[in-house]
Structures are given as structure tokens and as C-alpha cells.
């Protein structure tokens, strides 16, 4: 095909209109994503704001200072950490010795083994 045979008006139309359509379509998607973000963030905020009001309306909550769920979570995490760090190691004797061997979690395998008699 020689350049003279090209339908330039159609080529320019495809170039201009095509590129504009890409831009327009993606701009539409930008608005939709922004809308989606706004709707979802408002939906996430709404229950958090509504929760303290709901607690305050119950008689028990009015009588005693309410412990929020965050406090409960912190207490549970602190207890779990306390139990974990207290249970990580056995209590080991601090003396260094050779002969006396105490049973502990570190050497228990020795007591389960039998010598081989040949």
C-alpha cells in the first residue's frame, strides 16, 4: 500500500478518538474508584461511632464504667505474653557440675535409651 492510498481521515479519527476514549474510560474508572473508597470508608467508620452509643443505652453499662473491647483485647494480649515468657524456659540449676545429673527436659532422652550389650 502506498501512502497516497491511505485513508488519512480514518487514520486520524482512529488515533484521536481512540486515545481520547482510553482517557475518558479510565477517568470514569477514577471517579468510580473514588466513590467506592468514600462509600466503604464511611461504612467502616459508621459502626465504630455507633458502638459506644449502643453500649451506653443498656442498664448494666450505665451502672458500671464500661470496659471497651480494646481494653479486653489489651488485657488478653498482656496475659498471653506473661504466660508465654514465664513458660519459655525450664528452671535450671545455676551450678556447673559433672557427676550429678538431674532429670530435666534437656536430657530426658538419655533415660529412655538402653545400652547395647554385645
Amino acid at each position: 500500500m502506498t501512502p497516497l492510498a491511505i485513508n488519512w481521515s480514518h487514520v486520524w479519527l482512529v488515533t484521536g478518538l481512540g486515545f481520547c476514549m482510553v482517557i475518558v474510560l479510565l477517568v470514569v474508572l477514577i471517579f468510580i474508584l473514588k466513590l467506592l473508597g468514600a462509600v466503604i470508608s464511611s461504612a467502616v467508620k459508621a459502626p465504630k461511632e455507633a458502638q459506644p452509643k449502643a453500649i451506653a443505652q443498656t442498664p448494666a453499662a450505665q451502672a458500671a464504667p464500661a470496659a471497651t473491647s480494646a481494653d479486653d483485647d489489651l488485657a488478653a494480649i498482656a496475659m498471653a505474653l506473661h504466660l508465654y515468657f514465664n513458660g519459655v524456659h525450664d528452671v535450671e540449676p545455676t551450678e556447673i557440675h559433672i557427676k550429678r545429673v538431674e532429670r530435666s527436659g534437656w536430657n530426658s532422652k538419655l533415660y529412655g535409651m538402653n545400652n547395647l550389650h554385645r
Partner: protein, 392 residues
């Protein structure tokens, strides 16, 4: 004695043309680039091997004449997959997946399952950069027309600028299947060369001060947003542009499988087994289309030149729009992330990060660049849909 002579006459060596010899050498070179230089090896290796197989004289694994008859409305084999199955070789049969546009869509499914659209959802303006980077596609379409290609061929050459292999193959198989081999090889070669092609353009179009701009941290994105995103994008894009539905639909299906968290098995299959199998088939068959008669032609050289132009224009388009956005926006963005608008995920985003850190080592642009980068995937699929609608 007659049998021995017949045996020698049937040997490939006796039937090889010099063009086939050149193609074999070219396939060895591409294999070298894939294995030694690791240029997109996952795709370049099967493509190069497909090229090797198709140019072996007498092997009969791929028949370009069968596919020419398949496209010829006057031939009895016109659009007859039965003829291909009956008379074709192994690569002809596997090529049906390319011809029917199946493989690129399945690859897009895997790409979707591996992609995190979080940076794009957090900063939707990235979509503008992804759109601007498609400038290369349309400018190259214009240039290819002036170089004597038909409009359909020019559209297929232009799509190289989208830096998206599956999209290039999908569109070319529909618009100009005779150019599939050179276009696929150009697209994947230039994608591998993104770290070489882009940095000089990025440095030329930006000042030191602009390259050192630090961007604020992206907001966290909720799981709900990530789940709604693929559904919304598929619905809207497919309703506006139905021709883009196969690519966008598969991309978003893969992403939904990843984000919803209830179909982990499907998501892992899409990311690994399915993707790998399809990559092997696609690479082999695309390489097989690069026969000596179709590849050793002036048009191949023109396509290679146009491919660089397309990449360069796309990179420049993204950067220039980012600079323009800085004029009107209060919150400045680093124009280097605009170059990631050509898809080439995640290579183009990594290049933005590297060039940014050369100017300011404490600057981390990677996540900001991932927004335009994944927007580029959507943008190039949309551009392919538009070209298919207007030229198909």
C-alpha cells in the same frame, strides 16, 4: 543403495534453504539471550525453541500454508479447525489456542491472580498515568500507517507500545495474524529491554528536583474494596467496551479469586500450573509462526523500529502527564512514576524506583509506581478493545 540415497535426500540438511539457516541461527541467538542474559526467559525460551522447531526442514510441526488457507475465504479450508486437526502438526494444533484468542486470556487470568491492585485503589489518579502511557500505541499506529502498513497491521504494531505481551498477541491474532511472529518477538524483546530503553527518556524529560520528589505514603486499602474492585471494573469496562471484555474479564477473575480468599486452590492454580502450561503453549506456537518466509522481510525490521518508537512514546506520555498533573495538583507526584504506565509489570515500576533512588537514595517510589503500572495493564487492554472495535 537406492534406500540410502533416499534417506540422504530426506535429511533436513539436504532440504534446508539459506533463509531457514538464518532463522535457526536467530533462534540460537534468542536462546542465548534467554538462558545466558536472562531476558524474559520464561517466554523467550519457548518462543526461541518454537522458532527452532518450525524452521527445521521436513519436521512438519507447523504449516503456515494451512493457516493461510484458514484465512482465505475462497479456500475449502476457510475457518476450518477440522482441516487443521486432520492435516496439521503438533504446533498447528497448539496454535488453535492462539488463533481462538484463548491463551492470552488465560495468561491474563494468571496475571490477575498475581497482581495486587491495592496501590491503584489507594491512588485512583494513577489510572490517568496508565492512560497517558498508551499514547505510544496511537502515535505508532499513525507512524506505521505512513510506512505503508494497512490500518489493521498498524494497530497491531502500535499495541507493542502497551508493553503487554498477551494483549499484543490477542490483538494481532485478530487483526493481522500474518505479523504475529515479529510482533510477539518485538513486544517481548522490548519488555525485557525496559531497563535499557526507559531511563534515558526519563532523565531527559525530568529535572533533578523533580526526580527527587518524595511522595506521601499510600492509604491502607480494605479487603472489601479489593473484592469489589474487580467486579466493578469488569462490569463497567465490559458494558462500555464489549471487545475488551475477554482480556479485562479474565484479568479481573484472576484477581477476584486471589482477593476473595475463599478459592485459594483456584487462585494458586491460576498463578502457577495454568499460567505455566499456557506460557509453554503460547511461547512455542508464537515462535512457530516466525517461519523464514514470514520473518525475513523488510516489514520485520520496520516492526522492530516501530516497537522502540512505541515504547519511547508511551514512556514519554506517562512522564509528561505526571508533570502536567503537578502543575494543577497541590500534592506533588514524582514524574518518574509516569513511565511505569506502560504495563511491563513489575519491571517498569522497578525502573522508576531505581532512577528515583539515583537522585535521592532515601526515596522509595516502588509502591507509588505500582499504581500506574497495573493501571497500564488495564489501559493497554482497553486500548486493544478500542482498536479491535474500530479496525476489526
Amino acid at each position: 543403495m537406492g534406500d540410502i540415497l533416499e534417506f540422504f535426500e530426506q535429511m533436513g540438511f539436504m532440504n534446508m534453504t539459506y533463509q531457514q539457516g538464518i532463522m535457526l541461527l536467530l533462534s540460537f541467538f534468542l536462546l542465548y539471550l534467554a538462558i545466558k542474559k536472562q531476558y524474559e526467559p520464561l517466554l523467550l525460551l519457548p518462543i526461541a525453541f518454537g522458532m527452532l522447531l518450525t524452521n527445521l526442514p521436513g519436521a512438519g510441526m507447523y504449516h503456515s500454508e494451512l493457516w493461510a488457507a484458514f484465512l482465505d475465504a475462497n479456500s475449502p479450508a476457510y475457518h476450518s479447525y477440522g482441516t487443521i486437526m486432520r492435516e496439521g502438526g503438533l504446533l498447528d494444533i497448539l496454535y488453535i489456542g492462539v488463533k481462538a484468542g484463548v491463551y492470552p486470556c488465560l495468561i491474563f487470568m494468571g496475571v490477575g491472580a498475581m497482581t495486587d491492585f491495592g496501590p491503584l485503589i489507594a491512588n485512583p489518579k494513577s489510572l490517568l498515568l496508565g492512560a497517558a502511557a498508551q499514547l505510544g500505541i496511537f502515535l505508532t499506529f499513525l507512524a506505521a500507517n505512513s510506512m505503508g502498513f494497512t490500518e489493521a497491521q498498524a494497530g497491531s504494531i502500535g499495541i507493542i507500545g502497551g508493553a503487554d505481551g498477551p494483549t499484543s498477541i490477542f490483538l494481532t491474532s485478530k487483526l493481522a495474524p500474518e505479523l504475529l511472529g515479529p510482533i510477539a518477538i518485538a513486544a517481548y524483546s522490548y519488555m525485557a529491554l525496559v531497563p535499557v530503553i526507559q531511563p534515558p527518556i526519563m532523565r531527559a524529560l525530568t529535572t533533578k528536583k523533580e526526580r527527587a520528589i518524595k511522595m506521601s505514603q499510600l492509604r491502607p486499602v480494605s479487603k472489601t474494596e479489593k473484592i469489589i474492585f474487580p467486579i466493578a471494573i469488569t462490569t463497567i469496562v465490559a458494558l462500555i467496551l464489549p471487545d475488551a471484555a475477554p482480556l479485562i474479564g479474565c484479568l479481573m477473575l484472576g484477581n477476584l479469586a486471589k482477593e476473595c480468599g475463599v478459592v485459594d486452590r483456584l487462585s494458586k492454580t491460576m498463578q502457577n500450573e495454568l499460567m505455566n502450561i499456557v506460557v509453554i503453549f503460547l511461547g512455542l506456537t508464537v515462535g512457530a509462526t516466525a517461519t523464514a518466509s514470514s520473518f525475513l522481510d523488510w516489514s520485520t525490521i520496520k516492526i522492530m523500529v516501530m516497537g522502540v518508537v512505541a515504547f519511547g512514546c508511551g514512556t514519554a506520555g506517562g512522564i509528561l502527564l505526571a508533570k502536567l498533573m503537578n502543575v494543577f495538583s497541590k500534592e506533588k507526584i514524582n514524574p518518574l512514576i509516569g513511565s511505569a504506565g506502560v504495563s511491563a509489570v513489575p519491571m517498569a515500576a522497578r525502573v522508576s524506583q531505581q532512577v528515583g533512588q539515583e537522585e535521592n537514595p532515601s526515596n522509595f517510589l516502588l509502591m507509588h509506581a505500582m499504581g500506574p503500572n497495573v493501571a497500564g495493564v488495564i489501559g493497554s487492554a482497553v486500548a486493544a478493545g478500542i482498536l479491535l472495535t474500530m479496525l476489526g
